[in-house]
């Protein structure tokens, strides 16, 4: 079984639109949305939810006012300054470390497990899909990402599907690290802008750090041809394959507005042609 994870470093380079287009090209796979913080893939794949589960991330401290003597031990020990002057826990600041709970001499602090999101197994026109929604302002996005990837793998095994297509989050931090570990390969979608290139370089280093083979593609390549060449040269120097250049094309936005992949919107667009070639080369490079 192979897993391809699409990441970008910079947000808004076209990960999710490309991912949806790939999903519509290949029949035999599980779709996985690992951008749990701002998940958008479902807006195109229109999943019918079959199973819904709570996601329990970590614990949160709650002070029991009846038992609390306001001794201040918790305030002294809390490194997040999460305990207010009136001895209440600021749920946004609380890291869930449990130090206050452990050391409270009155045992006045409860530490219930916190439901901080939900995850789903769904059906789509393109195959089964695992996706999630992290609660607003919640932590543990990495843990939820690991969970949806694990469930996607399970689903693929159960259904004898040999590919998982995973839409990753932007950045290089905790949810991205959780998205790339153990993947068969990452496809980095960049754009020919100073920020696109800068962020691609960081995410290439991240993939190397975790020993995941990386491939590059440039979206909106004709926005700045010189920068596209720079990106291709950089990929070349790093020994990474640049598998495709996709032209700037309003079809991506038009299709998105209709809740469609670019192929559902129009089979014959120039961008669509480039995406098909990119997909074929990606499959070949991954050995699928």
């Amino acid at each position: 079984m192979k897993e391809l994870v699409v990441i970008s470093g910079k947000g808004g380079t076209g990960k999710t639109s490309l991912m949806a287009a790939f999903a519509s090209l290949d029949g035999n796979k599980v779709i996985c949305d690992a951008d749990v913080d701002a998940a958008d893939l479902h807006l195109i794949t229109a999943p019918t939810v079959k199973e819904r589960h709570d996601f329990q991330g970590g614990h949160m401290a709650i002070i029991n006012k009846d038992k609390c003597t306001q001794c201040g031990v918790c305030q002294d020990l809390c490194r997040w300054e999460a305990i207010t002057d009136d001895f209440e826990v600021d749920s946004i600041e609380c890291e869930g470390c449990g130090v206050c709970v452990y050391f409270c001499p009155e045992k006045a602090i409860d530490f219930p497990i916190n439901t901080c999101g939900e995850w789903f197994i769904s059906e789509t026109n393109f195959g089964p899909m695992v996706h999630a929604r992290l609660g607003i302002a919640e932590e543990n996005s990495g843990k939820l990402v690991s969970l949806v990837r694990r469930e996607a793998k399970k689903l693929a095994e159960e259904n004898n599907l040999d590919l998982i297509l995973t839409d990753g989050p932007p950045g290089v931090g905790c949810p991205v690290i959780a998205s790339v570990g153990g993947a068969s390969g990452v496809l980095i979608v960049t754009e020919p802008t100073v920020s696109g290139k800068h962020d691609m370089e960081r995410v290439i280093r991240l993939a190397a750090h975790f020993n995941v083979p990386a491939m590059i593609c440039v979206n909106k390549f004709d926005l700045n041809i010189d920068m596209t060449r720079d990106i291709e040269n950089f990929a070349d120097e790093m020994g990474l394959p640049c598998l495709g250049l996709i032209p700037f094309d309003p079809i991506f936005t038009k299709a998105m507005v209709q809740g469609q992949t670019i192929f559902e919107y129009n089979m014959e667009s120039e961008a669509g042609h480039a995406v098909k070639q990119l997909w074929e080369k990606t499959c070949k490079t991954l050995g699928i």
Partner: protein, 279 residues
């Protein structure tokens, strides 16, 4: 006065708005790039850097000679960052959240703290603008502690503009919390709208007043406009799609320099924000 610039969805133009707003106002402004995972504002501001600081977070270091293998450190740790297995104590510094619990609970005084590198903070100047950004070490998972360190540079006598990361989880909250105004930047597409609603939820949770910039305002559909009206979210600026802007951006050029007529628009945006904050 602190204005944070956030979006939910990535790539909607947060950095364009934050940098051009800062440069339009000019002297007396601090620009803090809190998108430490992928900081980009410096590519446009091109400051002269004059200070670099490496930032560490405390993680446990065990003196095995003093350790009696009681296992309390492993019990208190919620993050599986230290465990006792048979006759060894094993810290996993990459998983540590720096709560200090293991050190506190150790009765033998066997645990002290050492540092795990989170990344660096750079400080510089351009045209009277003070520029500070954090850059998360590639491989480091936790960005909020570095974001909080960047925000320690905030000076009360300045106007501080914060370029926040995308999303709505802990790094965004660390960037927006305790700011006076959140300027949300979106694009009028289904992805832009969906993620905007999440971002508005986060802003409401923090109880901060906010306004909206719609970038590439003539692509997509009008559902973002309708939503903003219904939600009482004031639309403070609309930037129509213009290939010249996209191309200038691609080269790292500031819009207010490539197209000077925009300076007035950004100053008007600033005035409108001030009016909202003071009303």
């Amino acid at each position: 006065m602190i204005i944070s610039v956030a979006s939910g969805k990535g790539g909607t133009g947060k950095t364009i708005v934050a940098t051009n707003l800062a440069l339009s106002i000019g002297s007396g402004v601090q620009l803090l790039d809190c998108d430490v995972e992928e900081p980009n504002a410096h590519l446009f501001i091109q400051p002269t850097f004059n200070k670099t600081e490496t930032i560490y977070t405390p993680v446990p270091k065990v003196d095995e000679k003093k350790c009696n293998l009681c296992g309390k450190c492993g019990e208190i740790c919620q993050f599986k960052a230290i465990v006792v297995i048979n006759d060894t104590v094993l810290p996993f510094p990459e998983l540590c959240h720096s709560c200090g619990g293991c050190m506190e609970v150790c009765s033998e005084g066997a645990i002290t703290e050492t540092g795990r590198e989170l990344g660096i903070i750079r400080k510089g100047y351009r045209n009277g603008i003070e520029f500070i950004h954090g850059e998360l070490r590639v491989g480091e998972a936790m960005s909020p502690p570095l974001i909080r360190k960047v925000r320690e540079y905030t000076r009360a006598d300045k106007l501080t503009i914060i370029d926040a990361p995308p999303g709505t989880s802990c790094p965004v909250i660390a960037s927006m919390k305790d700011t006076d105004f959140v300027l949300l930047v979106t694009e009028p597409t289904p992805f832009g709208l969906y993620d905007l609603k999440l971002a508005v939820g986060a802003v409401k949770l923090l109880n901060i007043s906010s306004g909206l910039v719609i970038n590439r305002s003539d692509i997509g559909d009008n559902k973002v406009h309708t939503y903003a009206d219904e939600a009482g979210l004031p639309i403070l600026m609309e930037i129509p799609f213009d290939r010249r802007i996209a191309e200038a951006y691609s080269r790292g050029e500031m819009i207010v320099e490539a197209m000077p007529e925009f300076k007035e628009k950004f100053l008007k945006l600033y005035q409108d924000i001030m009016d909202l904050v003071n009303s």
